[in-house]
């Protein structure tokens, strides 16, 4: 007998997955479930975003709606699927002005539009302020999972790292609040990149970095039964990270390795595909290599040290501890 707080979300998910028998083609346990219906692979993901956990200082309701949609489309993207639609179940206190609901829905619609998807339906109920989004996608090729990485594969990430953490610190501490929210905190789901990695057959594994780089690295290693060496000097870093570090004295490593709310993709691939990746218009950086054994190492100036799984843990951490 232990509380959810003592156990933490990742261990809880592991325990639940063991209890349920899933007929899903992939998942439970991956970023999204995948089921085969009449030969078509349908990808589905549900994620809850709440005012008290995900509302950054200065964020508008429309931006909150965008975030709620984006975290779900990111899960669909990380499976290499094409987003089709989203259902949005919105809980709000009964005293809320109706425009808050409409603004949240507008944000969801805008993000869906960007991802080529539609708002299909949902629910509205009294509650403390949250959106449970369920994104639906379709996959014409193999789905991308956490479990195909092989020793010798290269490890890469899309975009740059640390933006959500740095943006949150910046907005919370009055450093260019509006710009920090819109530029650093709001994710753009990596739909195009996920589709390219899936359709080309290049990626051996893929996952979004929603709970932080260290957690994603550990999840891919655990899912694939491998280890990973990550080179500190090769990590692509968001411009807000150094500014926040300079102005607020927060260590860069903390923001880059363990910040939650990052929605870039981490993927692995055989090095023979490196030229094909460079020829594509994908924004990515090679950050390391898959190794045999189960250790995740961070190599800084040539010195390896084990990289702990210290990404964001729901239940055990307060929002203020996240980043």
């Amino acid at each position: 007998m232990a509380s959810l707080k003592e156990i933490g979300e990742r261990a809880l998910v592991d325990r639940i997955v063991k209890r349920i028998k899933g007929a899903a083609h992939v998942g439970p346990g991956d970023d999204a479930a995948c089921i085969d219906i009449n030969g078509t692979k349908i990808v589905l993901s549900s994620d809850i975003v709440s005012f008290d956990r995900h509302m950054v200082k200065g964020m508008t309701m429309e931006q909150f709606g965008w975030l709620a949609a984006a975290v779900n489309f990111s899960d669909v993207a990380s499976m290499g699927a094409e987003p089709i639609g989203i259902l949005a179940a919105v809980s709000l206190p009964p005293e809320t002005d109706e425009n808050v609901l409409y603004e949240i829905m507008d944000g969801i619609c805008r993000c869906a539009d960007l991802c080529g998807a539609e708002v299909l339906g949902g629910d509205t109920k009294p509650g403390p302020g949250s959106v449970c989004g369920t994104a639906v996608g379709v996959c014409g090729h193999g789905v991308l999972t956490r479990s195909g990485a092989k020793p010798g594969d290269m490890v890469a990430v899309t975009g740059s790292l640390g933006s959500a953490a740095a943006g949150w610190y910046a907005a919370s501490n009055g450093i260019d609040g509006k710009a920090a929210v819109s530029d650093a905190v709001l994710p753009v789901p990596r739909v195009k990149e996920g589709l390219f990695l899936s359709e080309s057959g290049i990626a051996t594994s893929c996952m979004d970095i929603s709970d932080g780089l260290s957690t994603t690295a550990h999840a891919i290693c655990s899912g694939s039964g491998v280890g990973m060496d990550i080179l500190w000097e090769s990590l692509p870093v968001c411009k807000w990270v150094s500014r926040v570090s300079e102005e607020l004295g927060i260590p860069e490593k903390h923001m880059i390795l363990n910040g939650g709310g990052e929605y870039e993709l981490m993927f692995t691939f055989d090095k023979k595909h490196l030229d094909a990746l460079h020829s594509s218009d994908m924004d990515f950086s090679v950050i390391g290599m898959i190794m045999s054994g189960g250790i995740v190492n961070l190599i800084t100036e040539g010195v390896p040290e084990p990289m702990e799984n210290k990404g964001y843990e729901h239940f055990t951490q307060d929002r203020s501890q996240v980043l």
Copy 2:
């Protein structure tokens, strides 16, 4: 500018539906959305069930989980689709004992099992105690909607009415608590019935009675541009209704017409199909007829009077006012 409480869920849903452009084959606005993927109709529905609104006195966590799954499968069933799976996004306070989560998941699994579906995935997050379920189904035939009823069609309901309201009053007032919850409050989604109505092509419209008989009658009439005469004496009534009415003095009409949490189906059909329906093993009762004009009448001892749309309204009503 008005609060959600002043507007109420039904009007809010109408306003949201007008704001979003949906590519869904059916919905937003129906019980579930339906999208066509490579010629296969996929039906999707999200509904939130919460401790403070839906937890009946004496209910176990497993029963709460069952309820959370059942309300979603009911929406899939009312579209005439075959349930395939469910995603469950569970919010619980961090101090909650882990077993609460497992018991909720067990209830969801059991209900999914009964409906021939699987638990595909979901989410766990800190929150006040709620489950946002998303059920997925597939429809090999025409989907059932609220919009096909024609003057002259007969109106029928599956099962019996008033169970959720009567069960809630019984459990809350110490009348056979455990039996009232398991017998009256817990819905069994009408999957087999929805499939029969869809596959046979008999139903011209269909909807579940989740917000009460009066609300469903009004929704079908509004969706189809028709009116409805319902005969009070022909309504099939759950055995708990008269008992609760006798012991607690609560009017039967109140429980039967306006009680929320009822998960029977209301459907309409051309009277030429009555024999086919009677030949099936479906448990149903004819309760009225579709009329031209937009009025919903309740006819008691031959006297018609307009039946107001007084089913359960989220946001405007407390749980104690529901039933």
